[in-house]
Symmetry: C2
Subunit: 316 residues, 2 copies
């Protein structure tokens, strides 16, 4: 199998590299900063040594051996079948990067962006053979969260959508395709709604930041780890989704929805309160890095747990 | 230890009964419909037999033996130290029920409502010794989701809050206390924001109902099962929460938030689309009941998984 290239070596690029390499695909890394690329290789090594072992990740040496740094973009994309762009979220930088990558690659090479918020038409108009350009937006960290949002530009071909969906599925990801682009795509809109309302509730002194987080992790998040909001509603009324809506919308959710504060600006006072709580819990960058390793181990374990549960429910 | 009474024997009452009985507390059930109370006992037996065994639930016979049905409210609340009210969500019914229970119990008996949306002052003004009345709002199903929202009326005493918090913690729940009541309390406001935006995205044909659910379960829900939204943000930037806000608010979330559709009425067309998908997946009430058993087994397993992971991270 041909290699893939990952352009831009921050946390998202590192995650994509681990993901491809773990599935046996050689990864060619490039970053405009040679130092950033070298640092990425070191961080990938740390991530792999944290994650290998009991949870079914293959040996870290074999994965690491598939990842190489290249000194120029031309060398990095030489002979690849797929490029995952992971440069910072900036429209002119993404525009330029795509034109450059396209100039260096044949028309059958797929060029995917990790872009999380810029609409595809804003930066995918100018590359050569632009029908092979697409957005494949992962979540953080990409090698531990399966969801990928696929978003097309006005020029993206159906064949490109199919090829990306197929590739991502083959490496264990769960791609979904947006039928039309909207600001924030889908996932970050849902996340934005939750964050905005959460900050408003802290601002209004309805709840402490810590208790707000508890509401999610010991309440809603338990269900949402394995069922989306619609299936959750479907199972919360004997007759299913429509009955749930009939029971709870007019006399419940309608009034709640009209009272939500999601359109209000994030309050500096609420932000201070959250930051204060977080720094009490996790003091500084060093402690945050450790906590992030705990998060990644939890995500790996929960992923394994959900896969096993899925297998069990298929066989039972 | 004295028994507790559960007044109202629907799904929520059944869950509370299992929860208390599982922790060794005798439960006295009452429902105005004797048939409903008998049906509840049968359903509790089914739930217990589904849940006992490998996941650490104690033998179902021992739990079931602690649960008894009483023919009148007076008999049910005789000698209890705590009453959990679970009658339908109706302000005049809840008002009357609390006055009745209060008349039958001494002033040191705590009276808690499972109310999910009515503000406490609207139905807790008139009971005798109203300082011992409070809202303890569980999630569905109560015996498998630890979160409980405690909401006080203007008359609730601090001693009552402390006693309820202490009792719920001792039976393995995670109570949080709202500092002031708001429509929907906290959790259902967050859920309302997600549902409203999800339906708007389906209405706008941005995404299919199925893919929307995938966005939650294979994306956001993975993290939210063990971290709230604030800790998630804290770990998504090297410098923590404040840095995350600095990086992503002005150029990202602000625009997304102003575009959210959460205040718009739920669209009938979107509701139809979701219902159509759900009935393709799970055809009728019988299939829904089976699917609900799968949900409960998943919740039990994920609860066990999270407790084990928590123990591991404490000891490591």
């Amino acid at each position: 199998m041909k290699p893939v290239a990952v352009i831009g070596c921050g946390a998202i690029g590192q995650g994509w590299a681990i993901l491809f390499a773990h599935r046996g695909i050689a990864v060619r890394l490039f970053d405009v900063s040679a130092a950033a690329a070298e640092r990425a290789v070191e961080r990938i090594a740390v991530s792999l040594s944290d994650l290998c072992g009991e949870h079914g990740f293959m040996g870290s040496d074999a994965v690491q051996a598939r990842i190489s740094v290249y000194g120029s973009m031309a060398e990095a994309v030489e002979g690849v079948f797929y490029v995952q762009e992971c440069v910072p979220e900036n429209v002119s930088l993404k525009t330029r990067t795509f034109v450059d990558i396209a100039a260096l690659t044949d028309k059958e090479v797929i060029l995917a962006s990790s872009c999380s918020s810029i609409l595809p038409d804003a930066f995918l108009e100018h590359p050569r053979f632009r029908e092979r350009c697409i957005v494949a937006h992962p979540f953080s960290p990409p090698h531990l969260i399966p969801l990928v949002e696929i978003v097309t530009s006005s020029w993206t071909s159906e064949a490109t959508v199919d090829a990306v969906r197929c590739l991502l599925t083959s490496i264990g990801q769960r791609p979904i395709v947006l039928r039309k682009p909207v600001p924030g795509y889908v996932v970050n809109r849902l996340q934005a709604a939750v964050i905005a309302e959460s900050l408003a509730l802290v601002r209004e002194e309805v709840i402490s930041p810590q208790d707000l987080d508890t509401c999610m992790k010991d309440g809603l998040g338990r269900r949402w780890a394995f069922m989306g909001p619609f299936q959750t509603m479907d199972l919360n009324s004997a007759g299913g989704f429509q009955e749930y809506v009939n029971k709870f919308y007019a006399d419940g959710y309608r009034a709640i929805c009209s009272d939500l504060k999601v359109h209000e600006p994030w309050s500096p006072r609420a932000i201070d309160a959250v930051e204060h709580w977080r720094r009490e819990e996790v003091r500084d960058e060093k402690a945050l890095a450790l906590r992030r390793r705990w998060r990644d181990q939890m995500l790996l374990a929960i992923g394994q747990f959900l896969r096993d549960a899925d297998d069990r429910s298929r066989t039972s």
